[in-house]
Amino acid sequence: MATQTEVVEGTARSEDGVSAAEEVLVGRSEPVTYEDVVEEVAPGEVEEALQEPGAVEEAHDIEEAVEAPGAGGWFGRLRSGLRRSRESVVGQLNAAVAEFRDVEDEEFWETVEEILIASDVGVTTTSKLVRELEQEALERNITSGKELRALLVEHAARMLEGPVELDVSHRPTVILMVGVNGTGKTTTIGKLVNFLPGSAMLAAGDTFRAAAIEQLQRWGERTGAPVVSRERGADAAAVAHDAVEMAKRDGVDVLLVDTAGRLHTKVNLMAELDKVRRVIGRRLPGAPHEVLLTIDATTGQNGLRQAKMFNEFAGVTGVILTKLDGTAKGGIALAIANEIEVPIKLVSVGEKAEDLHPFDAREFTEALFGDL
């Protein structure tokens, strides 16, 4: 299969957007047709053939579902999700706070550093936080570990605070979704349909990955949002162009434009993103109104590079932290907020359509450090 790197150059052609579509297909090899794809086998037949002593595992007792007592909503879920992995970290922090003697206690600061780094906050942002904290603790003559913990939460939360509202005041409002492969762009779009007020339309701009269009169409079926698409391999800018025109014509409130996942290191793919953006802006001045970058909460320090490069090429207006329901602590959000200065606007914590929430810096930080 050919690479995704074909970028259709020439603004004159993409001005009308549509004709550009065919060009992208050039250079892609024709898929090999293979007829004998699905072979259904009668279930009974297989069971007999494969049944073997010991082959079937005893159903394991499923441990009690992790559920934070009394804590409802996404925060409770988030917290329960974080609990397992957090236990050791919180235990350390607990111990450190309990044993805290004075500001000169180097062991305490080392523990704080370790906790932050273990949460993917990164060395630079960790050092900055610890430095600030140490200084303030000295100035305010803080002697109790508890006070210090509160201060830690406060500092981290302040770093993360930013505007979380999405600008949906336009008609249509165009939201462009960007991000590296596998960070959850398409899933998040499905969730955004429920999250945002008014009517929504989806644009299947991931024309590259196998079945990405189908995936978005399923979300369209689930949410009732119409999906604008072209064939696989079509120019993403052409799809965006069509979608903006249709959204204007149909008077929808929000148009959500999906794009193919791309590594931020691929310059020509990033340039393609810029082109999608330009085509949208030409059809609707001022659009896209939001460019949202999905970052997988399990991402380490490379998240910084992702945020930096996508911001440079696509003008990111906000970050959506996805898959926060895992073991991931999402500390990379702190690093991004600190070093790239792009606000974290939303968090996605589960698989269901309603699992999308505005980012709350304080709650996030509390969840990061546990309920001491």
């Binding site: 690479t3 898929p31 293979y34 069971e47 273990a118 320090q301 490379n302 590079r305 500390g331």
Partner: protein, 432 residues
């Protein structure tokens, strides 16, 4: 970093102080590369222990020496056991993929299929991701592009049922390599983790591969441990290596699970998939490409400088038994002498008919090492009969043998001097 690496070159052994200073920097570099902090702690501790007191190569500064040790240890750690694919004696070989959402399982399934086809296998894909919308379509489309059949039974049957039936279908169809794609899952979702255990039980795979995105951060350790517990994977596929992530997760996961990384997946093309090379990854994680290149160059430079100095001394006729011994030991490292000399153009003809006995080398070496350093440096001393007697006794040989060696050595010295002056002398008889 460079500041920490500066210092006097080749200053004997590495002091604790020096090692500490550099390992602090290494620790930061590894943390920035997303190596789990607990793994970093242990790793740096080990390196500190190994490096302290180690001899510094003449070519390197102590700092560079530590980096070199770190790099070697990293590669060693990730090297693990054999990474090559093995196939079941009774086909089909069944490989199951498992991992978090979005780490590239389905793409890796397609890539692996293409990879084994190039090895002469007949692959077959089984689509067990009944959760993500259109995941099955994705695998089918990939199969279509590659011309690899895909078993799909929709999203109604359980994944374990699909796995069983799919493997059966593959065996019936005469396919000898089955790749079972599974849904992405989060490790805190215990229901899903139990499911992967059941799928494993149903598929009874020969190999389970954890698919891991190279950008994964500190959680890689917990993720790997959970998948080890529920899916008992025996190796990994590291994905999205074409990005610029340093990939410390690879080190974390290998060190806590003891499972090797088997494959590296990079790029959008289905063919961009290969066995994993630990040495390349070590340099990437350390992120000290420049320093590592420098170290390599410095060592090459030293080798060359030494060789040049030796050659110069030889040509000036100041060739001693000490040098002779060094050359001989170098020769021995290069393999059998007869083969080596045969490779030199021109020499081959002259050597025809002469028997070169490698064991002779050993005898010569014994004689040279039986000389005192003074004698080695100044062969003229060996005109003294009692010295010759002592050397012969030391080497377990006759005085005649020693005298012969000294004589031949003198001839060689003369010859070297002549070459140094530009003359081409007649080849003297070699001492062996």
């Amino acid at each position: 970093m460079n500041a920490a690496l500066d210092g006097v070159r080749g200053s004997g052994n590495l002091t604790e102080d020096k090692v500490k200073k550099v390992t602090r920097e290494i620790r930061l570099a590894l943390l920035e590369a997303d190596v789990n902090y607990a793994v970093v702690k242990e790793f740096v501790g080990n390196v500190r222990e190994r490096a302290t007191g180690a001899e510094v190569s003449k070519a390197l500064s102590p700092g560079q020496q530590v980096v070199k040790i770190v790099n070697e240890e990293l590669a060693k750690l990730m090297g693990g056991t054999s990474h090559k694919l093995t196939f079941a004696s009774r086909p089909p070989t069944v490989v199951m993929l498992a991992g978090l959402n979005g780490h590239g399982k389905t793409t890796a399934a397609g890539k692996l299929a293409l990879f084994v086809r190039k090895l002469g296998k007949n692959p077959y894909l089984v689509a067990c991701d009944t959760y993500r919308p259109a995941a099955i379509d994705q695998l089918q489309q990939i199969g279509l592009e590659l011309g690899v059949p895909v078993y799909a039974a929709g999203t109604e049957p359980s994944p374990e049922e699909i796995a069983e039936r799919g493997i059966k279908a593959a065996a019936d169809g005469g396919y000898d390599f089955v790749i079972v794609d599974t849904a992405g899952r989060q490790v805190v979702d215990l229901e899903m983790m139990e499911e992967i255990k059941r799928v494993r039980g149903a598929a009874r795979p020969h190999s389970v591969l954890l698919v891991l995105d190279v950008v994964t951060g500190q959680t890689a350790v917990e993720v790997a441990q959970a998948f080890q517990e529920y899916a008992d994977f025996d190796g990994m596929i590291l994905t999205k290596l074409d990005g610029d992530a340093r990939g410390g997760a690879a080190l974390s996961v290998v060190s806590v699970t003891g499972r090797p990384i088997r494959f590296a997946s990079e790029g959008e093309k289905m063919s961009e998939f290969d066995y994993f090379y630990p040495d390349r990854m070590a340099g990437r994680i350390l992120g000290m490409g420049d320093v590592l290149t420098l170290i390599e160059k410095a060592e090459q430079q030293l080798d060359r400088e030494e060789a040049e100095a030796d050659a110069k001394r030889m040509m000036s006729g100041k060739f001693t038994f000490e040098d002779f011994l060094k050359q001989m030991q170098m020769l021995k490292r290069m393999g059998p002498l007869s083969g080596l000399l045969g490779m030199i153009p021109g020499l081959n003809k002259q050597l025809q008919g002469t028997q070169i006995d490698d064991r002779m080398l050993g005898r010569v070496e014994a004689m040279v090492t039986s000389m005192t350093p003074q004698e080695q440096r100044n062969p003229k001393l060996l005109q003294n009969a009692s010295r010759v007697r002592r050397v012969a006794r030391g080497a377990g040989t006759t005085q005649q043998e020693v005298q012969k060696l000294v004589k031949q050595f003198n001839e060689m010295q003369k010859m070297m001097r002549q070459i140094g002056k530009g003359g081409v002398p007649k080849m003297p008889r070699m001492p062996f």
